[in-house]
Symmetry: C2
Subunit: 205 residues, 2 copies
Amino acid sequence: MSTDKSQRHNERMKRHKEVVDAKIEQATIERGVVIVITGNGKGKTTSALGTLLRSLGHGHQCTLVQFIKGQWDCGESRFFSDPSCALSDKLQTFTMDTGFTWNTQDFDTDKQAAQEVWQQALAYFSDPDCRLIILDEITYMFKYRYLDINDLIQAIQNRPEQQSIIITGRGAARELIELADTVSEIQPIKHAFNQGIKAQEGIEW
Amino acid sequence: MSTDKSQRHNERMKRHKEVVDAKIEQATIERGVVIVITGNGKGKTTSALGTLLRSLGHGHQCTLVQFIKGQWDCGESRFFSDPSCALSDKLQTFTMDTGFTWNTQDFDTDKQAAQEVWQQALAYFSDPDCRLIILDEITYMFKYRYLDINDLIQAIQNRPEQQSIIITGRGAARELIELADTVSEIQPIKHAFNQGIKAQEGIEW
């Protein structure tokens, strides 16, 4: 690149840095956050798992609650259940034991399974040592009326100040979006599955 | 719930299962995929990291190339550099060593750093044992003209059949979106940072 172009690039970068620095200076509140990751695109559960990895990397105690994918032989379960990995000792996991709800097709059994896993999760909402709780695919539990959304809202509002919560799943309710500090909506521009490509280990599970 | 309502729920679930099963049956192609995760919302890098975790959990060899966040003391680096974790042995990581580009503000140095890390990554595009390559935040490298997008396109097109590629970053180029099998665009509905909440370890890094 010519010296002129290179200089203009450097000046643009300098202005960009000034804008970013000013924003960083304005952000002064220190507390846990509520993150909602919703929308129909691929990447909701994996985004929560990536944040979990970060938090565990810093030695935080974390809780992962999976409401839908429980029965799959998924890579994340294999990873975290590897006994060699000391950092995974800080992680508690709970999975709803009926797996994909449309495989069981029984309202009463599924509701009971959802309630059981919710009660296990609830204990961590009053534990200040637990820095992160992930409620993976919990949105469907409200849609199907297995769980009451007001119980979750109350738990979130009464949680320890430094605790963060991540909620994933399609169609997050308006109340959750209002309550959240950060909301990302993942739009599906395209998906391999719709082009006839099989779901595969390491990508979909 | 009344028996009637419960029965209607079960029937809806049964129909849902039929639709899902039919789609699964139609998806018969088995090969690696190209995934692009773009948009201005939070969750792009973490989504790639979550997929990495899955793939490592299944014992796959993976390569993670980070173009922007290299210098941060981030949780993912800490996690993967923990020597106790045997599954992480299957992971190769490369980071561009100038860190955030707007902190250096020097076109020539940054371009050289980008080129160096790209050359390291490129070797894995011809290694059939490498099942997943993540190019985290590479989109900015094309925007700033540090790298040539045609080099990436060519590498993707010539890669081993079972290898998957994940590309993250804002403003993914049209050529990449066309080439990809799966594209997710993350929309920022809201972000804690804009409400004065400080970026924090375990969440932002």
